[in-house]
């Protein structure tokens, strides 16, 4: 019995030790998400372009980025690009790499948002004589953002978990600390339970936000 109970009793202790990794885990996730949210905008505009070239470039980017496992992508950036062209710190490489991946996914989320907007909205903007930029800025973008928010929140949660791969290139996030704790403890699942609790606690507020936004959205759309 004690073999199982001892690690369990130590969970609280592991939990406190792992909290030190929370700021860096959050920083990488939030930064990568912001990079992706911003880069996703030109990407979705290219993807929806009436011209063949930007449309194809965007599609290839999205397909490539979604086809590569995050850990492979981070290795390419950190060990490949990082060692031969520009020197990145592990954190920079993680933010850049996860940001580029996020851009691909968020562009697709935005694209779904555009498709959800009734064509009459564009028709009305055009008939009023709004320029394309104005129509995008004042009519389409706010509606696309509103429709996309729940999916964006869901993506944020999955990004939070995906960024655990950053520890493989040396980012001192929660995952890195877990590995160290587990090695120091010489086995046992205590540190992993503690890590699981931390990740759940981090994602709950985001999930709650997604639900609230979703409910609000439905309210707005229906009478």
């Amino acid at each position: 019995m004690t073999e199982i109970l001892t690690p369990l009793m130590n969970i609280g202790q592991y939990f406190i030790a792992l909290l030190k990794g929370v700021p860096i885990s959050l920083a990488v996730t939030v930064s990568a998400f912001l990079v992706g949210a911003i880069l996703g905008i030109p990407l979705v505009l290219m993807r929806r372009s009436q011209y063949w070239l930007p449309r194809t470039l965007a599609r290839v980017y999205i397909d490539v980025i979604r086809g590569i496992p995050p850990v492979v992508w981070l290795f390419i950036i950190f060990f490949g690009v990082g060692s031969s062209i520009i020197a990145f710190t592990p954190t920079q490489a993680a933010i850049l790499g996860m940001g580029m991946i996020s851009a691909g996914y968020l562009a697709e989320i935005y694209r779904g948002g555009f498709l959800a907007i009734p064509p009459g909205q564009t028709l009305a903007s055009v008939a009023l004589g709004l320029t394309r930029i104005d129509s995008l800025r004042f009519v389409l973008a706010p509606q696309v953002l509103r429709v996309s928010l729940p999916a964006m929140a869901t993506y944020f949660i999955s990004l939070l978990k995906d960024t655990t791969v950053a520890s493989t290139i040396g980012v001192r996030d929660v995952m890195m600390l877990v590995t160290q704790q587990a090695q120091a403890a010489g086995g046992g699942f205590g540190p992993f339970i503690a890590a699981a609790v931390i990740y759940i606690l981090l994602s709950i507020p985001v999930a709650a936000f997604a639900r609230v936004m979703d409910a609000k959205l439905r309210q707005r759309v229906s009478r």
Binding site: P118, G129, D134, Q143, R223
Partner: protein, 263 residues
């Protein structure tokens, strides 16, 4: 509105304000509009009727180039285009700024208040300040009798109210001609009436209007001219008296008989 006023108003200006010449529209093999010409004069109210698929909405949308004709010439107000080249974005904007359009589905912007729906295009398209724009908006809301809804969101309004807001939004840009694309088709009859009342008032104020509609009673009462379309062509036109009560062609007779039978 009394009948003998209408022809006088229609013929007051010699120069047409909207002029379509030899307009052709094709979708692949489908010839949607076949060499149609149409002149509309300042202050004239033109009703376009005909069976669905006749090309009424397509022709209406050619006037502000929401549909792109393959050939022909198009004149709206001071802007005149020969459609032998692709129009530049700037030309298209000029054209669209001189026309106001009202859609079957209203197409208000759901994330903006009623006031912003009407004011924002004025600020962006005409460069009015917010104060100027809001003043115009207040006046127009008064005119469509929805002054109390300025701060409401469209989803809170009835279809009839939304359509009146859509009319106000188009009017706010001082168009030279108003294009109505089946403005009451998505409304139940009662709500349709309040929209028709606003349109009747607009006509009385001398606005040039082209109305695609199935409301034959409205066409008979308000229109100066009724145009009957079928299979991409204008097959008959004239005063409501001539066209609706004494149609010449068997095709037109059949169309109006079907509508009258329904009522």
């Amino acid at each position: 509105m009394n009948a003998d006023q209408k022809p006088a108003r229609a013929s007051a200006a010699a120069e047409p304000i909207v002029s379509l010449k030899n307009i052709d529209i094709r979708y692949g093999n489908f010839h949607a509009i076949k060499n149609v010409s149409l002149d509309v004069y300042r202050g004239e109210v033109v009703a376009m009727v005909g069976p669905s698929g006749a090309g009424k909405s397509t022709l209406l949308r050619a006037i502000n180039m929401l549909e792109t004709p393959v050939s022909g010439t198009l004149k709206v107000g001071n802007f005149s285009f020969t459609l032998d080249h692709e129009l530049s974005q700037k030309e298209l904007l000029l054209l669209r700024r001189s026309t106001g359009m009202v859609f079957q589905q209203f197409n208000l912007f759901p994330h903006m208040t009623v006031e912003k729906n009407i004011s924002l295009p004025q600020m962006r398209v005409l460069g009015r300040s917010k104060e100027e724009a809001d003043k115009v908006t207040a006046r127009l809301l008064e005119r469509v009798q929805l002054a109390d809804k300025a701060k409401s969101y469209p989803a809170r309004l009835s279809g009839g109210q939304q359509q009146r807001i859509a009319i106000a939004r188009a009017l706010a840009l001082d168009p030279q001609v108003m294009l109505f694309d089946e403005p009451t088709s998505a409304l139940d009859p009662e709500l349709g009436l309040e929209v028709l009342a606003v349109m009747r008032e607009l006509a009385n104020d001398g606005m040039t209007m082209i109305v695609v509609t199935h409301e034959i009673a409205f066409a008979a009462e308000v229109a100066d001219r009724v145009i009957v379309m079928a299979d991409g062509e204008i097959i008959e036109q004239g005063t409501p008296e001539e066209v609706i009560r004494n149609p010449r062609l068997p095709r037109t007779q059949k169309f109006f008989r079907a509508i009258l039978d329904r009522h």
